[in-house]
């Protein structure tokens, strides 16, 4: 079974095949991901991890790195 990290990277890869997500540290601030990508990403994450990311979660800090995204998913799964 895939780890959450692997699953997330697969989703990201599918979304943007041109980006090496392990390298990038400021996905939002540097404009790597635009608002279209974010919306698509939130949709995919929602289905895959069975969590709902609300609008209030859509801040750069939560999406700038893969680790941050994973953190967000874990927090939501813990039902905070």
């Amino acid at each position: 079974m895939e780890t959450h990290m692997e699953e997330l990277l697969r989703i990201l890869k599918e979304l943007r095949p041109d980006i090496d997500f392990n390298e990038k540290k400021a996905l939002i601030d540097d404009g790597v991901l635009d608002s279209f990508d974010i919306v698509a990403l939130v949709g995919e994450i929602g289905e895959t991890f069975d969590v709902q990311i609300g609008v209030e979660g859509l801040v750069p800090e939560n999406f700038n790195t893969v680790q941050a995204i994973l953190g967000l998913i874990n927090r939501l799964r813990d039902g905070e």
């Binding site: 404009g31 635009d34 974010i38 698509a40």
Partner: protein, 530 residues
């Protein structure tokens, strides 16, 4: 008090002096007093609108903050053992109440905005429809239009929504909050700032710093340069061509519209530079509102570089909530099932994009032309998103490297043309005029004797040359910035004489080539009927 008037400069110098002379704890009060003094200079009655917005959003923020903290306490009370279902039920109860509060506050504030800006437009169009059935009609009302209305309304609405989302606790001091809404350099033309980015800077104390003073002055000079030397100069041709487009051939109209592209960029971004420069002197960093939009490679890229604070506002408070809302979620699922390929994936997002640009169009003003402007931008962006895979394939087929300079240049040119077409709508008298001008541009594009005719549009060869040289300077500096060169730092490393010459040149250009009086046109002699 316009930013380029002598009285504003006097007001500014006194404010800055006072700001750094009073005890540090009182600095924010100086800003508040200055902000209201400044706003009052535009009229006494309009302050009522500003106060209404300040008061309602302040109270709204407090209510929402109260509900947030109560919810937190209740959830805590449930304890660790409670199931997530139970927690959710408690949350939902509070969310329901919060929704009522936020809806009420937004309704009041956008209601004022709508009433003032859009009532006449709505009434006029409704009357046309009504006219088909009855004689009854909505009367036209001459509202007094508070300056900066849409800017401060959006700014404080953003605050209320953020508090609703529990992004930060509300501001409890009414006067401090009033300063956030009315901060003088920005209230008239933005940028639309965020509370968490700006407010604390307004309330903190700031020590005087020559570095900040220098950078602030330099930024202001750059702003005045763009506004007084370029924008106000192109304005002569722009108002002439848009005012008498019937007299001109397509090529001349196109030239006039192109001048308008220059004018609106230099005027708007120049104003923002002045505003940010003032804030910088006061020790406050304001967000950027422009990022060299003339280098945009696509229309959506353009909107990320142009009036950034509005785009970001629309993204955070309209695009995301709509995209993630239930109806659009359902639509997304449905589309993915029924439609194959890319279209199915992005249909809902495209639809939201379209709505956002439609709203941006309406935000600009109440007129069909702005709606057309919104549709034009939304339409092009949606279209290009939907067809993105097609382009990719085509590029591969044609063996074009998407990273090559030529391709980038082509993209910039293409974007410029798209923006250029959109400008017919923002500046044209009304929708029909804009369309007629477009038609004339296409059908009567007559290049014969263009050089001579361009000289007949209101500016002589000298002024046109000034515009050309200045635009080249602006583009050149923009290019260096795009490449990451720190121009001010590079300059600072030079010796004193060089620095002084640059300063002298800058000030002299503004003093001698600036059109710092409304209606001043070098070649115009008001009396011709001798």
């Amino acid at each position: 008090m316009s930013l380029s008037s002598a009285s504003f400069l006097i007001f500014l110098v006194s404010t800055v002096a006072l700001y750094f002379l009073v005890p540090k704890k009182l600095q924010w009060m100086v800003l508040l007093a200055a902000s209201y003094f400044y706003y009052l200079s535009y009229g006494v009655k309009i302050v009522g609108f500003l106060l209404t917005t300040t008061f309602t959003t302040y109270v709204g923020g407090l209510l929402l903050g109260e509900l947030n903290s109560r919810r937190k306490i209740r959830v805590k009370q449930l304890g660790r053992e409670a199931s997530s279902e139970e927690k959710k039920a408690v949350s939902d109860r509070f969310t329901g109440n919060k929704k009522w509060v936020v809806a009420g506050i937004l309704l009041i504030n956008f209601g004022i905005l709508a009433a003032i800006k859009y009532y006449n437009f709505a009434a006029e169009n409704t009357n046309v429809l009504l006219g088909l059935f009855t004689d009854a009609s909505f009367p036209k009302v001459n509202w007094l239009l508070p300056v900066g209305l849409s800017f401060y309304t959006f700014q404080s609405a953003g605050y209320v929504i953020d508090v609703y989302r529990a992004k930060y606790p509300p501001e409890r001091n009414f006067f401090k909050f009033a300063l956030f809404v009315s901060f003088f350099p920005q209230i008239i033309q933005g940028p639309i700032s965020r509370f968490d980015q700006l407010a604390h800077q307004l309330y903190e104390s700031h020590a005087f710093s020559f570095d900040r003073l220098k950078y602030g002055l330099q930024l202001m000079m750059w702003g005045f340069f763009k506004k007084l030397v370029v924008a106000d100069r192109t304005a002569v041709i722009v108002s002439n061509v848009f005012g008498n487009y019937q007299k001109y051939s397509g090529a001349e109209i196109a030239f006039g519209v192109f001048m308008y592209c220059i004018q609106i960029y230099c005027d708007f971004s120049g104003g923002i530079d002045i505003i940010r420069g003032i804030a910088q002197i006061l020790g406050i960093d304001m967000i950027e509102n422009f990022q060299r939009p003339y280098f945009a490679t696509s229309l959506s890229d353009f909107w990320r570089r142009w009036h950034i604070s509005l785009g970001a506002w629309m993204r955070d408070y309209l695009f995301y909530p709509l995209s993630l809302s239930k109806p659009f979620g359902k639509l997304g699922k449905y589309a993915r099932k029924k439609l194959k390929g890319n279209l199915g994936k992005i249909l809902p997002v495209s639809l939201v994009t379209f709505i956002v640009f439609f709203t941006i169009g309406i935000w600009h003003g109440a007129s069909w032309k702005y709606i057309a402007f919104g549709i034009w931008n939304g339409g092009i962006i949606t279209f290009s998103v939907i067809n993105a895979p097609v382009y990719e394939k085509a590029l591969k087929r044609l063996h074009i490297n998407p990273e090559s300079t030529c391709w980038k240049l082509f993209q910039i040119l293409r974007t410029t043309v798209l923006v250029f077409i959109g400008r017919y709508f923002t500046r044209g008298e009304d929708l029909m005029t804009a369309l007629r001008m477009l038609k004339r541009t296409v059908l009567h594009f007559d290049l014969r004797n263009l050089a001579g005719n361009v000289l007949s549009l209101g500016l002589g060869a000298f002024d046109l040359l000034v515009i050309l040289v200045c635009c080249t300077v602006i583009l050149g500096i923009g290019y260096l910035k795009e490449r990451g060169v720190h121009i001010r730092k590079t300059l600072e490393e030079r010796n004193m004489l060089v620095q002084w010459l640059v300063l002298l040149a800058g000030l002299a250009v503004i003093a001698f080539l600036g059109i710092y009086r409304e209606g001043y046109i070098a070649s115009e002699f008001i009396y011709k009927q001798f």
